[in-house]
């Protein structure tokens, strides 16, 4: 028993045995060694998606074995994407965490040679709204103040986030800045970090004056009072603990940045396996346990599966592509 449960180590790009899953039963597919690749270091949004979903699936009894979570950082998800397409393309036990960040990189052609139809898109599990935050001791109180200072004295504000330059965390600030009326994208000085956690640390250390990320990344720091959220990039105020966070819209800046969270699967995954995974995540989403996870983590509802989700991702990519072109990130 030991040997079989230990078969896979967590780190890095383990391949090996998982390829031998061709003999899956024709119906009622059950993943034998369910595995989730989080294309980033532990602690970020993708990692959270994999772990929470894996855990809840097991708690609900939808999978029998523990979901192995593999962290594969690199190229803002590009490393994992290329790895899945090239080496795990017919693996039925594998799902990969994805988000708006994945769509962003795909839209900008930043995964060289990869497109969205090389993989199968499974389902969403919620959306995480973007936040723009400052340290608690910052003199800046509102989002308009923040952009006012950025427009008049761009050299005084450096804003950090967990994605690379041109990535989703960067794009969110650009969207909001544009909505405020800053047209020169170079006025927004964005600094890339390896993860949201590191960027928040540097915000507290005073190296940065602003932080752009997802609500789930700053949750602990909001509670401890170290960080002040200037705006949530949501259409309206969130429910629960986060109800007193102001939106950008109510401050007169019409910017929405929803980071959807979901999964894709290898392109040659069998139809039985694909349907089974879609079914599992649908059931997960409907469960009380998951609704609770969403509330405690500030995830907003986004309920899309299978073909609907595929269409949603396609649209999302098209929109980001248009936006990136407009802002000038891609020619």
């Amino acid at each position: 028993m030991l040997a079989s449960t230990l078969r896979k180590s967590l780190i890095g790009g383990l391949v090996g045995l998982a390829l031998g899953s061709g003999a899956a039963p024709a119906q009622d597919f059950v993943p034998e060694n369910p595995e989730c690749i989080a294309p980033a270091n532990p602690g970020g949004g993708w990692d959270f998606t994999c772990r929470q979903v894996g855990r809840t699936l097991q708690d609900l009894g939808l999978i029998s074995a523990t979901m192995q979570v593999v962290n594969m950082a690199g190229g803002s998800g590009g490393t994992a994407f290329a790895y899945v397409v090239n080496e795990r393309n017919d693996d039925d036990d594998l799902i990969i965490a994805a988000s708006s960040a994945t769509a962003t990189r795909l839209a900008q052609g930043a995964f060289p040679g990869n497109t969205m139809d090389q993989v199968r898109w499974l389902a969403s599990v919620g959306a995480d709204y973007g936040v723009i935050a400052v340290a608690a001791d910052s003199p800046i109180q509102t989002l308009p103040d923040f952009f006012e200072q950025m427009a008049t004295a761009p050299e005084t504000i450096a804003i950090g986030g967990g994605s690379a330059v041109g990535g989703w965390d960067h794009l969110k600030v650009l969207i909001a800045a544009q909505a405020y009326g800053i047209d020169d994208v170079r006025a927004v000085r964005y600094v890339a970090f390896e993860g949201g956690g590191e960027a928040v640390t540097q915000l507290l250390a005073g190296s940065l004056q602003g932080f752009s990320g997802d609500l789930s990344e700053v949750r602990g720091f909001i509670e401890s009072g170290d960080v002040r959220v200037l705006a949530v990039l949501a259409p309206e105020r969130l429910a629960g603990d986060f109800a007193d966070l102001p939106t950008a819209r109510e401050q007169g800046i019409d910017a929405i940045g929803a980071n959807w969270r979901g999964f894709y699967a290898p392109g040659d995954m069998s139809d039985e396996a694909y349907d089974a995974w879609v079914e599992m995540i649908t059931e997960l989403y409907a469960s009380d346990e998951w609704q609770e996870v969403m509330v405690t983590n500030g995830l907003a509802p986004l309920d899309l599966q299978g073909a609907d989700f595929e269409a949603f991702v396609a649209e999302s990519i098209a929109r980001i592509e248009a936006l990136s072109r407009e802002i000038g990130i891609i020619q």
Partner: protein, 519 residues
């Protein structure tokens, strides 16, 4: 005091027969994982995570098992460094420099037990540091912005020269080679591939494990092949093991080094990203500067074994501070531990100490337990470890080579990595022949990306003003130390050596002089 009652509660949670058994198993497996080249603390912990889950362990027992593995691997790395001149994991790299010469002198047993004691003291002090200073240490970590990190890494490279006992041009060459290798892969700032020549295998960069195992372990195998004589190993095997415990005199000379190194290593560990390798490295270089008056470092000085071991184990404890208090992993291993905490539904961060005191104090109690178990396990086992030296090289070296391959293959599953490892083996052999130190190469591959990213962040934040690198007092201080560390050995080294030569009879010095600094 409040703290002690918390700690008492922690022990109350941690001390059960099941947990003690887990600690024992974890420490034992960790020691072995640490000693095997290619498997280090981070993959050791990762390998055993499924075990923790499949046994259905709760948060506290799971953390006890995994931190035991973590500390165990930190202890274990030294064994192969001392016995085989092959670091079992990257922080044990510095232990090779004096540990292996000690073993060659017939002091293998003493080197092993001394380093075990040094490891214990380092880890023990670090755990107390974690208890008393965690909040203040967070403030310390916050002093380090990108510019300060860059200065810190520059300091590590500037002080390289004296360490590796050859001329500084070759040290610099090696460091740049390592940094250059680190640049290969997708650029973390902009996402564009660099120096990959279009090869997908290189997009993720070169894993430093591939480099370290190839450079150290395989090149060692090649050296044995080169020196094989007709009657095999008749002349090489008769290695004496010597006494199994260090003498009081040795312990006494090493104590100041151990204490200093524990503090330094701990501080290095607290800085996210710097980690245990930097801790052992800085400990060794500082001790060499401070106490190496006779130029014995690098030739089997016990202090050169005690310092890096105390340093890297203290750093292992220090690395838990940013992980617990900020949710930012300070090293590869704490990244994995962080992942475990998250999957147990515990979110490290500023409020962890308030929200989950049972987990934090249980963890701290677990660290103490693991540390004592390891001391109890390691000292009596020294005799067993040294048996490795009895195995003739014609059996041992094929074993080492194959373990190296398995370590890499088991983690990455990639034949490409294995080919690359053989390439590094050849490179290591050639560089050893040319007297180019290997340590700076590994340091370069380990720190290269962080060094570059922090430079670029600093310049981005300052809007293109390079002077930002020397604007804070801390950064200036680090640069001064770096410059002094770089320049001083060139002048002082010559002076000291000249004075030594005039004091001691020439014949005695002929042997020891070779490895000392040369400008």
């Amino acid at each position: 005091m409040d703290m002690f009652s918390n700690l008492y509660d922690g022990f109350a949670i941690a001390i059960t027969w099941q947990n003690l058994l887990l600690a024992l198993v974890g420490c034992f497996l960790g020691t072995i994982i640490g000693a095997l080249p290619g498997l280090g603390p981070s993959n050791g912990v990762a390998i055993l995570i499924p075990l923790a889950f499949s046994l259905g362990l709760g948060p506290t027992p799971a953390m006890i098992l995994l931190t035991s593995v973590y500390y165990g691997a930190m202890y274990g790395g030294r064994i192969s460094s001392i016995l085989l001149n092959i670091p079992g994991d990257e922080p044990a790299m510095m232990t090779c420099l004096d540990g292996y010469p000690m073993a060659r002198k017939g002091l293998a047993g003493e080197a092993l037990s001394l380093s075990g004691i040094a490891s214990f003291v380092g880890a023990f002090l670090a755990t107390w540091g974690l208890i008393f200073l965690a909040p203040q240490l967070v403030q310390f970590a916050l002093l380090f912005g990108p510019a300060e990190y860059f200065a810190l890494f520059a300091l590590a490279f500037a002080t390289l020269g004296g360490v590796s006992s050859t001329n500084q041009a070759k040290s610099a060459f090696a460091a740049m080679l390592g940094l250059g290798l680190a640049m290969i892969g997708v650029d973390q700032q902009t996402g564009t591939p660099r120096l990959t020549f279009g090869d997908v295998h290189l997009y993720d960069g070169i894993d430093f494990l591939v480099a370290i195992v190839g450079l150290f372990a395989l090149s060692e195998v090649f050296i044995f092949l080169e020196h094989r004589h007709g009657k095999a190993d008749a002349d090489d095997t008769a290695v004496k093991v010597g006494r199994l415990t260090p003498s009081w005199a040795t312990l006494k000379t090493c104590t100041p080094s151990i204490l200093r190194s524990s503090c330094l290593g701990f501080l290095a560990g607290v800085l996210p990203g710097a980690g245990a390798s930097l801790g052992s490295f800085i400990s060794y270089t500082v001790e060499k500067r401070l106490v190496d008056r006779d130029g014995t470092f690098g030739t089997g000085d016990p202090r050169g074994v005690a310092a890096p071991e105390a340093g890297n184990n203290a750093a292992a404890g220090g690395a838990l501070v940013p992980m617990l208090a900020l949710g930012v992993p300070g090293s590869g291993t704490t990244a994995v531990l962080l992942a475990v905490l998250l999957s147990l539904n515990i979110t490290p961060g500023p409020l962890l100490f308030n929200h989950n005191p049972d987990v934090v104090w249980g963890l701290i109690a677990a660290l103490f337990i693991a540390n004592f178990v390891l001391l109890a396990l390691n000292i009596p086992l020294v005799g067993l470890f040294t048996r490795v030296l009895m195995v003739p090289p014609r059996i041992l070296m094929p074993f080492v080579a194959m373990v190296s391959f398995v370590g890499i293959y088991g983690i990455s599953g990639s034949a490409f990595d294995l080919q690359m490892m053989v390439g590094f083996g050849i490179l290591g052999w050639v560089l050893r022949k040319l007297d180019v130190p290997l340590v700076p190469i590994i340091l370069g591959t380990l720190l290269g990306n962080m060094m570059e990213n922090n430079l670029r962040r600093a310049i981005s934040i300052s809007n293109g003003d390079w002077w930002v690198l020397i604007q804070s007092p801390l950064a200036i201080g680090l640069w001064i130390v770096a410059i002094v560390g770089f320049v001083l050995p060139i002048f002082v080294g010559r002076l000291v050596k000249a004075r030594m030569r005039s004091r001691a009879p020439a014949s005695e010095w002929a042997a020891d002089e070779a490895p000392a600094d040369r400008p």
